[in-house]
Symmetry: C3
Subunit: 267 residues, 3 copies
Amino acid sequence: MEINATTLWRDILAVRTKAPLVHNITNYVVMNSTANALLSIGASPVMAHAEEEVIDMVTIAGSLVINIGTLSKAWVAAMHKAMKKAHELQKPIVFDPVGAGATPYRTQTILELIHETPPSIIRGNSSEIKALVEAGIKTKGVDSTESSESAIEAAKHLSQKYGAVICISGATDHILNQEEYVRVENGHPMMTKVTGLGCTATAVVAAFAAINPSMMEATAHGMAAMGIAGEIAAKNVAGPGSLQVNFLDTLYSLSEADVHSHLKICA
Amino acid sequence: MEINATTLWRDILAVRTKAPLVHNITNYVVMNSTANALLSIGASPVMAHAEEEVIDMVTIAGSLVINIGTLSKAWVAAMHKAMKKAHELQKPIVFDPVGAGATPYRTQTILELIHETPPSIIRGNSSEIKALVEAGIKTKGVDSTESSESAIEAAKHLSQKYGAVICISGATDHILNQEEYVRVENGHPMMTKVTGLGCTATAVVAAFAAINPSMMEATAHGMAAMGIAGEIAAKNVAGPGSLQVNFLDTLYSLSEADVHSHLKICA
Amino acid sequence: MEINATTLWRDILAVRTKAPLVHNITNYVVMNSTANALLSIGASPVMAHAEEEVIDMVTIAGSLVINIGTLSKAWVAAMHKAMKKAHELQKPIVFDPVGAGATPYRTQTILELIHETPPSIIRGNSSEIKALVEAGIKTKGVDSTESSESAIEAAKHLSQKYGAVICISGATDHILNQEEYVRVENGHPMMTKVTGLGCTATAVVAAFAAINPSMMEATAHGMAAMGIAGEIAAKNVAGPGSLQVNFLDTLYSLSEADVHSHLKICA
């Protein structure tokens, strides 16, 4: 594992050059903003959830995003199918357990999905990561109220159980698997006031996972690109509305100098 | 009932401090923009519509938004469930009858929903409010073509029948229950060129309803906050695109001085 | 057929004055941005997909958009119903075959829909247009990787088979029916980095089709309005985020002078 400004910039260029197709089965709230972020970073997004086509779609994709933000029965069936096929084809599956712990249905559905087909990467906030390990944890909706540090033990447990890279996002992003650990310190507090930037991070990680076989590197690179773009975009903005606009502009125009001067990573 | 710049500012601070969880069962068009507006005003949005989880979700929420903009069968069943549970737990239900009168299915579905569980607050434009009272009224899609004044009699009737606060939004917002009446004169004509700002108003009202037990005060405060933010945001914008961005920035940064200098209310 | 800056400006004014109701059965990703573009150009958008109401909705609409971007069974049934009713009432149907060729389900569903009820206009990128003619064509997701020229033969074939106007959009837009051919050269490369601007073009064409009985003129006017607005909007933007915002502002404020100085059409 090698993660630094040079490897990050190399992988940003690879995403821009290869424009990997990222297949998203994601929630209604973030479909538009996620697609725009994927286009801005240089990937090619597709959103498709019909049971009749998810297998064919994941077959031509470079990676698969599963985000359970606005669940319902038919979609869960499609998620199972797409995950199985991605696993069979050894394509990265990046899983976002939005609101885990908020309702029993949500937590149980997630556990069934990841138990049947272990994802390559799971990215959530601390409440969500903890809810997947401790039954009955109290979650307040979809926004986390706890520090990301508090979920590190739960993340280690999850990683061991599913063999996945776990990313706890927050002021600090903690990324780990069974042997390795990376901390990304980029980002800006106002990012929590733009809906779905967590979901966007998951999708951006999937773009990097489509072009780099190391899931640790892909996760760290994706989270760092998000954090750096958010940090630069937040300079001199008047609020979350302009942050969202600047964020896409910044992702699109991220330069080697931006990466080298802003990356705060501890590998 | 007391509604003035001081009470409005007090309640804006309360929303920012308490960050109430607002559970939205709303339409696809506005999910993203509504969630962003709720975050900007300081609330915590959650969108969830699965029959399997709406009861649990509304149980942890501070208020419930029901918006029938993009109806279908499964969603209506979830709306019924969520409304019943909210009523049982005495949590405010804010109802948005989008496009009432446009099709018989829409009008009938709304009437069934509010007949079974009367909402705390109903917010619509004049065509929608009238369509809920007069059968066969001619509605042109989801945008109103009539003045808000023309629906006051219908609103009084609705309020009596369901015991709800009714808000007719438009150039002037008329807010009434069986005993009280308030008029809010804030806002800007260009707001009608941004999709879903009516739906957003409903959700913002729900944020205030989660922290103030007076539904009249909550409705007036929510509509006034929307109108003031829209008015300030519309200054010097080039069109609806920048209005939408500035609107979120302004909601986020609304100050005591903004409230005192802009509020145009007649209580 | 007459298509030039004078006729384009005349039809922009007609859309602004008549504010035609455009009924969209479209995909989740673009609902918000499409509705905003329709409002900015001066039309009145409505999104409705319930089988129980699509017939009533299309009856009061000026035109119908069918966009299969995020397909599923229940929606396809509603599309069939709405298309049949629109055809019966002689209202323009504008069809967007998003991602045709990406999966067999997608291609087959499109062919079934347009075989049962031929649309008035089909707008797609070159891969999509070709996929509707040549079985087994290789499509990479929803973004086209080929020039629009390469699909002209396929477009002619489609036009003959279904009696529809075909628009192949790209750097150059090719618009044709069995007798006529128009080329629109407006637009900007960065428009491909904003999600759903193709879908938006389809909806804007539907706004023009609601006020001009010539489907060739409506398509050319719609595509030209999109291209001119995109071109003006792209001046001095920092990236796709601000392009999206400027694009709406520009559509809203498009002037006679803008149209006359920018239109690049070959009729």
